[in-house]
Symmetry: C2
């Protein structure tokens, strides 16, 4: 796909930023959208000497009011519907401090879109079920933005390989679904009566483990959970493990993989119910060597998402309808 081009919305933001002094990037969102941000801090941590970044829950960001939030800050916010009230409030707050605000949302006319300086419109199939091309996903737009930031502020241009990789991402996801189809059917039936299921990962994949624990297992299936960091596992959490406690382990391709491998060895030895998604088993054709690690969190989350529907069916607990509180009451 040599014709792949920089996303139009991202292009506009980068054009503006060329003329600004930016020293700080704040990644601000709630829940599943916050989870996406963790991979972007990882990207900037690894690739930028010029920029410092932090991830915050939107309310935490506003109340904490970091001293570094100024006209030299870029604040990137995300809300799928664009209606998350804490995130809309955070956008307004960031603007009042003189920061440049970028809002990622599926609805370009949403409250978040109206509040920010620049909108990145992305696509998502989670609530509609209508298939998308992953080049238009939130991860894709974020990595294009990250690579653009590093080009402007560090003078290193990774945009070409970033863009061409993201153009080929959907095919990787489609093949991952096929590869894990059988295993996820088997594991759904093994897991259907469980009351507690942990997820685990490190580095780039930690956000996917977090999102899956809080937005799918807890929210959509009412299963107790925690996303355990694979390095932290050995400093307390591992003591709950015996052969009856189920774990979903994500093994990525980033620099922190040895932590996930260490956790895997331990789980094999002392655990029993274990689903492992290992990016090394997948076909990353069309993805640049350096980008394989970065696309992994989305690929693994997509596999888990499909797995969830099998689990939900066996549990007779529908993914999108079974809610006690969410959007049912004021809170």
């Amino acid at each position: 796909m040599s014709t792949a081009e920089l996303n139009e919305d991202v292009k506009i933001v980068l054009k503006e930023l060329e003329n600004r002094v930016i020293t700080d990037v704040f990644f601000v969102a709630c829940g599943g959208s916050l989870a996406v941000m963790y991979a972007n801090k990882y990207y900037l941590d690894r690739h930028s000497k010029a920029l410092r970044s932090s991830c915050y829950n939107a309310d935490e960001f506003v109340y904490r009011n970091p001293a570094a939030l100024s006209e030299n800050a870029l604040v990137v916010l995300c809300s799928q519907t664009g209606t998350t009230s804490e995130t809309v409030k955070a956008a307004k707050f960031a603007k009042s401090k003189g920061a440049v605000t970028v809002g990622m949302t599926v609805d370009k006319h949403s409250a978040l879109a109206k509040e920010v300086d620049y909108v990145l419109g992305y696509e998502a199939s989670y609530t509609t079920g209508i298939p998308i091309d992953a080049v238009n996903s939130n991860y894709s737009l974020m990595y294009q933005l990250d690579a653009g930031l590093v080009k402007i502020f560090d003078g290193v241009d990774r945009l070409p390989e970033t863009i061409s990789s993201l153009a080929n991402l959907q095919a990787v996801i489609d093949k991952a679904h096929l590869y894990y189809g059988e295993m996820s059917t088997r594991f759904a039936s093994e897991l259907k009566d469980e009351k507690v299921v942990y997820t685990m990962a490190s580095g780039l994949s930690y956000g996917s483990a977090y999102s899956y624990a809080i937005c799918v297992l807890m929210e959509m299936q009412w299963i107790h959970s925690q996303a355990i960091h694979a390095g932290e596992f050995f400093h307390g959490p591992f003591e709950v493990l015996d052969e009856t406690v189920p774990f979903i382990l994500l093994k990525g391709m980033d620099e922190t993989r040895p932590m996930e491998e260490r956790a895997h060895e331990f789980l094999k030895k002392y655990g029993g119910k274990l689903m492992v998604l290992d990016a090394n088993d997948l076909d990353f054709s069309g993805i640049h060597e350096e980008m394989k690690a970065y696309v992994t969190p989305l690929v693994l989350f997509e596999v888990l998402w499909k797995f969830s529907y099998k689990l939900a069916e066996l549990r007779e607990h529908p993914m999108l309808e079974a809610r006690r509180y969410m959007k049912k009451f004021a809170y």
Copy 2:
């Protein structure tokens, strides 16, 4: 206590840093020691325009290898015994990058102490049971270091009120134990047969909620848990709540308290088993107005720690002896 003075070990570090250009502070540790670091990022986020900070699990830090890790970085590490291998490795790694390294440990002759440029020797009673004065705790030394950093690099001197407050901290903790004695006895008996117990907090107290979930509930009592961020609670986790699911909620005095109050309202309405530790109920005599919020995480953790012994006794699951894996095998 007008005679209160800056800790001698901290004084030596600050003296050295006066002549360095420092732009970044990395807080690096594992488990319960990492939990302490979160409050220190909060401190620098709020008070420093000159310094940027991040908290990392020690292995994550080494593998991630942030681009900003250079001779302009201060790396603060903590391990109670000074033997945590990931943290010792991280100290060595940070030094190889030219960073200034500071190691907090109880044992000034430990592996961590040998690896770092400067040692902060603190006291802890968790494993020995021998009472300490909280002015010598890890939190106390860290806040003295934080205030010193802000004095050097931002030119704002909060050291006098920081030091005088910390000198009076033990009395606050002692009174908190008395205040919560009866409630914690009652709640221990309510909780003794539970398989899942969540903790929740935001801002400064989040680290205490995290430490309590992973090091006490999971590690020492084999109870399933997660430290839920009070803002994130509403974006997934709250769907697991019904009147049978126990929560321990920490309410601090920092800027993020409205999030903990919002979560509290929700728990009162839809939950059932709820232990709330509210710093507003405590006697903070001798603590400077601005420091009350900062000492709260240690005060609340100390109360929880004493509560744990009541719980452990009723569960017949000894706090310090019952381990399946920790320090029993190589892993």
